[in-house]
């Protein structure tokens, strides 16, 4: 018995490890866990982790009933009854899953944003040097380029603000402020769509430049930036939709 095990088990209630059966649960326990699992949204990994924790809790509860004299099967049935309706248990996790996913999406957008941005800046700088100090992107039309860059800046600002709201309404601040997984999911989705806007505009500016002055682009950083933005558009689209779907599961 490890010191931790001794600590976490209240005295007099079956000791796991001493005569405890291996962790092959009763078929009724597995049916119960499967019923909870099918009602959980979120990533496969997150769901598996939740089910693993519930399984160990069910086994502990079953052990306690066995120690009190019940058979394994009776103990398991009692433990399942004690855990509660699978739909109710699963719905209790909906907010946690929505919050976790929102935080992941918001954090990823905030981390990848500067990287993709640097690639675009590198493209502009390299192309600028390559065209003998001409104004970068000049050939795409100065006014259109300026407007495009302003729009990119606006989209980046929306992404950053929405991602910050998403992280703020589900993290440590919830010690003092209300916990808002629904708001976090919506904000993460907005951040995702705004990031798609920023990346899409970057690609549009690149396309305009290619169309008007194809020879005046530094190809390596331009390709890297385009690939990075394209990948981010695809991933952000999926992530934003997922956040909205999770938001819909919140009652």
């Amino acid at each position: 018995m490890s010191p931790l095990g001794a600590h976490v088990r209240p005295a007099g209630l079956g000791m796991p490890g001493r005569g405890a059966p291996p962790d092959l649960t009763d078929p009724q326990a597995e049916r119960y866990l499967a019923a909870v699992m099918t009602r959980l949204p979120g990533t496969a990994r997150h769901r598996a982790e939740i089910i693993a924790e519930l399984r160990s809790g069910l086994l502990d509860a079953t052990d306690a009933y066995r120690a009190a004299g019940l058979t394994a099967e009776q103990g398991c049935r009692m433990a399942i009854g004690e855990f509660g309706d699978p739909a109710r248990v699963a719905s209790g996790f909906h907010a946690e899953i929505a919050a976790a996913q929102s935080r992941k999406v918001a954090g990823t957008l905030l981390l990848t944003g500067p990287l993709v941005g640097l690639l675009w800046i590198a493209t502009a700088l390299c192309s600028h040097l390559g065209v003998r100090f001409a104004i970068p992107w000049h050939h795409a039309g100065a006014a259109a380029t300026e407007a495009g860059l302003l729009l990119v800046a606006a989209a980046v600002a929306v992404t950053v603000c929405a991602a910050a709201v998403s992280l703020g309404s589900t993290g440590s601040l919830t010690r003092w402020l209300p916990d808002r997984p629904g708001r976090a999911s919506a904000a993460a989705a907005i951040a995702g769509f705004a990031a798609i806007g920023a990346d899409g505009l970057g690609l549009a500016l690149l396309a305009a430049q290619l169309d008007l002055a194809p020879g005046r682009l530094s190809p390596v950083p331009a390709c890297a930036a385009a690939v990075a933005s394209l990948a981010r558009i695809l991933l952000a689209r999926r992530a934003a939709r997922h956040c909205l779907a999770l938001r819909a599961t919140l009652s």
Partner: protein
């Protein structure tokens, strides 16, 4: 005591159960039962999301640990969790003192002049 009656206090109660040291989900449930003298009627399954919420707020820390051949997720208070528990205790003392005074039968009130 139904889960509804606990609304708003479950977080504080969970922090109090974790105050003596780390515990896993089922041990927390048993402690809730023992400490409430069996008065607490809460489906065990609803305890876990509450613990995950506390973890997200940084009030508890969770880690997987293995004991007796079984992997369990063990929760322990963070310093912020201890602070939140103190705050919750103070707020509850004030609230319960006020309600106790308000609910006192009129016959026990000091007579008005």
């Amino acid at each position: 005591m139904r889960a509804e009656a606990l609304k708003g206090h479950l977080d504080g109660i969970l922090l109090a159960v974790l105050e003596p040291g780390p515990r896993h989900g089922y041990a927390i449930m048993e402690q809730l039962r023992v400490r409430s003298g069996g008065q607490l009627d809460l489906p065990t399954g609803t305890l876990y999301p509450a613990l995950h919420r506390l973890e997200r707020a940084g009030l508890v820390r969770a880690s997987w640990s293995e004991a007796g051949g079984r992997r369990r997720r063990v929760y322990e208070l963070t310093p912020a969790g201890r602070g939140a528990l103190d705050t919750e205790r103070g707020a509850w003392s004030e609230f319960s003192a006020a309600i106790t005074t308000l609910l006192r039968p009129a016959s026990l009130e000091p007579s008005a002049p």
